[in-house]
Symmetry: C2
Subunit: 237 residues, 2 copies
DNA sequence: GTATTTGAAATCATATACGATCTCGCGGAG
DNA sequence: CTCCGCGAGATCGTATATGATTTCAAATAC
């Protein structure tokens, strides 16, 4: 019997909802403050509200969405302190991830990473922030993909997801930081090649993130003193 | 109108289920491998399966429960590698948490912590593992409660929760480790009092956890070479 | 004109119902 | 005796329905 019962994808509807919403947040269709209405999303996806609710709860656990009882969910609005917390945590886990991965990184990996970094350098004069950020992610992914501790890798990914919510604040917008960043990348590669002590590498990687954070904070402070995004109101008939 | 509609507690049913299950895991009513059946738990709590499901999903996200589609949930069985991952992550976040908290720790905090540690020392001769573990938690809680970064504090708590699932492997069972541990505690307190550099403190705190991990692993390896807990079967009529 | 009340719409929260899927024991074939 | 297929029961997954709660704006009082 080749009768497909409607579960051909093998993907549960809650999983589907989860990925759909996450994608919308990633590509900025749903910007911070956007109200996520269970029924509306369910209708759009052709599922009921229950699986959508579950998906939103998962996104809440990951810090991408805030959820208030009897009120609803909205894409997380990360204000400055929250941003600082995330970046600080990220600096720590990225540092450890880099140090733990190092012994497993091959010469080929280094070469790949260096190629990516070269491409970033090529962008320095004529900056394409979106592509630059993408390359930056790719660079660090190469460094991390060998991390032997999946929990730490997971924490890194969670941090990145949260960062993605505010991708417009991407560091590549901060003048001068991009140039510093690629230099630090090369430094990291050399430390790995030299088989530097784990702690040296960890602190270098941590400082790399911390430097980005400080630069971004200083920049934001001087340009957008007090930006409070409006929360979208409830729809009325 | 003093008509209470049945929501007097202000606790949603999914939240209630979450806390109830978590408590059962903590006090070892539900041991690793225990099957969590949505309907059965719901009936016991007087709620339907939907909120129970949501609660279980949250516990899954925290790593306390595993959930398989169309099969069900059971309390996570943490085998050695998984245990190592958790401990390693915990050592990192506890290290950072300690270092970040230090500047905010008062003399009174130190005194409290030292009292707790004294009580632990008193237990050294006549070891009560359960109480010892409790005191250990209290000691570190005092050190962490001033942590300015709630994300990192949250990671510490998650790690502790996971450790609690396998509390029988508590470090206080490892001969000699308890004595080492309280000595390290005193050392940490002195580092804080001396206002040591953040990195010094961080690494000391990290080593404290790492030492526990290593001792426990060595001990387990020599005593329980291959312990595979049985998964409880589905109930039949 | 401003503050307060009030009611209807929107939305969340969960119980119930039902279909889908997995598990496990039983019985027959080899 | 062992292996395989099958079917009943258990359980999950989600649609639907309904109650509870919040929000918003218009109407009212001052």
């Amino acid at each position: 019997m080749a009768e497909v019962t409607g579960q051909a994808t093998g993907l549960s509807k809650s999983q589907l909802s989860y990925q759909w919403i996450k994608a919308r947040i990633s590509d900025s269709t749903f910007t911070p403050g956007y109200r996520l209405v269970l029924g509306a999303i369910g209708k759009e996806l052709g599922v009921s509200a229950v699986p959508v609710r579950e998906a939103i709860r998962r996104l809440e656990a990951e810090g991408l969405v805030t959820f208030e009882r009897n009120v609803g969910a909205q894409v997380a609005m990360i204000e400055e302190t929250e941003y600082l917390y995330t970046m600080q945590t990220l600096s720590v886990v990225e540092g450890v991830a880099t140090a733990l991965s190092a012994p497993f990184i091959t010469g080929a990996d280094i070469a790949r990473a260096r190629t990516v970094n070269q491409e970033m350098i090529a962008f320095l004069e004529d900056l394409n922030p979106h592509r630059f950020t993408e390359l930056n992610l790719e660079f660090h992914s190469i460094l991390f993909e060998n991390c032997p501790n999946p929990h730490i890798l997971d924490l890194v990914h969670r941090g990145w997801n949260r960062m993605q919510v505010l991708r417009d604040s991407s560091f590549s917008f901060v003048p001068g930081r991009a140039r510093e960043s690629v230099a630090e990348h090369e430094n990291l590669l050399q430390l790995i090649e030299a088989e530097s002590p784990a702690l040296t590498l960890e602190l270098a990687a941590r400082a790399h993130r911390t430097g980005t954070m400080d630069a971004l904070l200083a920049y934001q402070k001087s340009h957008h003193p007090h930006q409070t995004p409006e929360s979208s109101p409830r729809k009325r008939s």
